[in-house]
Symmetry: C2
Amino acid sequence: MLLLQLLVQLRLPLLKVGLLLGLLLLSSCSRAESLLVEKQAFEIASFTTQSGQLIAPVRVGWEAYGKLNADKSNAILITHFFSGTSHAAGKYQPDDAVAGYWDAIIGPGKAIDTNKFYVISVDTLVNANVFDPKVITTGPATINPATGKPWGLSFPVVTITDFVEVQRQLLDSLGIQQLHAVIGASMGSFQAIEWAVRYPERVQRLIPVIGTAYMDAWAAVRLERWAYPIKQDPAWRDGDYYAYGQPVQGLSTAVAYITQDALYPTAFNQRFTDPLQDQAPQQDIRAPFSACQQLMAQAAERSKLQDANHILYLVRASQLYRAGMGDNWQQALQQVKAKTLFLPASGDQLLLPTMSQHSAAAMPQAAQVQYAEIPGDYGHLDGVFNIQAVSAKIAAFLN
Amino acid sequence: MLLLQLLVQLRLPLLKVGLLLGLLLLSSCSRAESLLVEKQAFEIASFTTQSGQLIAPVRVGWEAYGKLNADKSNAILITHFFSGTSHAAGKYQPDDAVAGYWDAIIGPGKAIDTNKFYVISVDTLVNANVFDPKVITTGPATINPATGKPWGLSFPVVTITDFVEVQRQLLDSLGIQQLHAVIGASMGSFQAIEWAVRYPERVQRLIPVIGTAYMDAWAAVRLERWAYPIKQDPAWRDGDYYAYGQPVQGLSTAVAYITQDALYPTAFNQRFTDPLQDQAPQQDIRAPFSACQQLMAQAAERSKLQDANHILYLVRASQLYRAGMGDNWQQALQQVKAKTLFLPASGDQLLLPTMSQHSAAAMPQAAQVQYAEIPGDYGHLDGVFNIQAVSAKIAAFLN
C-alpha cells in the first residue's frame, strides 16, 4: 500500500501505475520462488584414486543453475561441506519445504547471479547422505560390482584431491575448461583451494568460505572425536555392518557432535532447553539433560539418511587435507593464480578465523587476497545460514 | 657479570658491592625457591548435601601459605579447577619436579603476597585425582563405612554449593570469618562466585579466572561429551567397577578430551605431531594419527591417579552450576557485595570470554566490576599457565 501511495503521489497515469505494479509483483514473485532444479548423474567407468587404487564405477550426482554460455566461460563451481550435498540452490519441486543451502546467494539477480553464471555443484565421493534419494555418491555403502556386496572398509581412503578429480572429469565432459570461480564452505573450501592449486590456469577466482588451506594436529584430533562414537559402537563391527544394520547409537552421537561443533552457543542455546530447567540430572549422574536428549533426537532423525562408514571416510578426508596434499602446504599455495576472497565466520569454533588468516597470509601475490568475516549467531554455520550477510561482497568480487 | 660491571662503574666501595651482590643473590634465590608446604586433612563427621543426603564422614585435604594474622582478617581462599587439587603453590619437598599450579602468583612478594596474606586452598569433594597420595577427597571411590565398600553411584550428586559448604566448615573451624578474597580458575570460579553469593558479608573481593556465573545448554552438552567415553565403556559397569578395575579406555579418552578442550590450537600444535607427517592414516581409516596417539598416551598416564566416577561427578557438578543454584542466576548475583575482577583468557574455547562478559554484566553495582583478559597461546589454560601475565592486575586489585 505504501508503494501504491508513492506511485500515485508521483502522479503517473493509472495505466502506467498498473503496469509498474504488475512488474514489481512479478519480480518479487520470481525473487520469492526458487529455481527449479534437477539432479543428474555422472559416471566414471573406472576411477583411480591419488593413492593408486581403483573404484569402478564412480557415480556422483550433480545439478546446475543458469545457462552455460557459448564459449563456456561463465561456469562457477560450488563445492559442498561435510554434511552437505550438491543441492546448493533451488528446489526439486515447487512445494519442497526448503531450497538448496545457499539459495540466498545463488539465483537470478542474487550474489551468484544465475542470469550471468552457469553454477554447477557435485555430490562428493563418500557423501554422508547416501540414503537421501536425491544424493548420488559412491563410497563404502555402495555395492561393489566386483563382489556384489557393499565396499565397506575395502573402499580406498579417498582425499579432497579425489573429490576434485571427479569434479574435473565432469567439467571436462561438459567441455568446461575455465571456471569463473570456485566457491565452497568448510570442507568445500578444501576442494575449492585444491582446485586453485592443482589447476591454476583453470580457476580465475577462489572463495574459501569458513575455510582453511590446512588441517593441523588440533583440527585432526578434534575431528577424530566425531569418529570415536562410531568406532566404539559394537554395532559398527569394524565397518562390516551392512548385513546387520547401522551402528545407530554411534552414528547419532557423531552427528550430534558435528552439529554442536558447528554452532556458536548463542544459536545453540536458542534451540535447546537450559539445564537449570532439568530436575533428574540433579539426582543421578546417569540422567541426561533435556538439551542432550533434544540434540540426540534431532541427530538420530537426521542420521537416518546417512551412513556411518561414509562419515568416517569424510572425517579422514578432512583430517588429511592440506593444500597440495604434500608436506608443505604453504609452498603448494604458491601455485594459485586465482583472485582469492577468504570469508571466515567471526564466531567459528570449528575452523577458526585464525585458520583463514594463516591461509590468507600464505597466499601468493597473484591471489590479491581479500578477507572479510561473516557475522552472526551460528558460528561455523554462519557460513551457510548467514551467507547473505556477505552477498554484496561476493557479488562485487565476482564482477 | 653485567650487574657486577654496573656496580663497579657506580664506583661503590668494594665492600658495599659485595653486600649488594649478596643481597641480590639471596633475593633471587628466595624467588627461585618455592614455599615448602604441607598437606593437612579436615574431617566432617557427618555432612548433609544441599539435596539433603548424608555423607559420613567427609574428609578433604587442604594447604596454606603465609601466616594468619591476629584478627584473622588476612585470609585468601583459592578454589581449584576441574582437574586441579589444593596444591596451588609451593612444593612438598624442595626437590619436587613442579610447584603448585599458581606458584607464579602465590608466594612472598608475588601478586598474592604470602608476606601479607594467609592463602588457603582445599581439595574439593569428588576430586579427580583421588589416587594422588597428596590428595584427600571423598567421593564414589571412597569406602563408605556404612557398607565397607566404595560408594560408587550411591554417592549423592554433589554440587558447587556442597564444595563451598565443606570449605566454609573448614574456615569456621579455623575461626576465619572474613575472606580478603576468593580466587578460583574455571570450576574454581564457580566456587568463588558461589561464596560471594551465599556469604556476601564474608567475601570482600572476588576474582573469577577463566570463569562464568552460569553454565548454559551449550556448555552442559559440551561437558557431557567428556562423560560419554566413560559411560560407553563396558568396563564402567554402570559405575560399579571397583572390584574389576577402572574403565581405562573410557577414562583416558575423557582425560584426552578435557586436555584438548582446555588448549588453544597454538599450544596444542606445538606439542603434537602434524598430521601431514603420518603415512598409515592415508591407507586405512582405522589407523590413528600420531597426534591422537600422543595425546591418548599422555592422558592414560595422567588418568592413573584419577577415578572415572569422580570425573563423572565433577562433570555433573560443573554442568549444574549457575550462581545461587536456583532458577535465576542473574538475580542471585545481586547478593554479591565483593569487589569483583573477571579474568577470562582471550583464546578460551571452553568457557568463552563472552561468558565472563555476560556474568560481569549481570553483577550488581556494589561489585564495581573490573574485567581484563589474559593473553597467551594456551586458551583456557592461559588461566593457569600464563596467569603471571595479569599478576600486576591481581596485586593491585588485592591491595
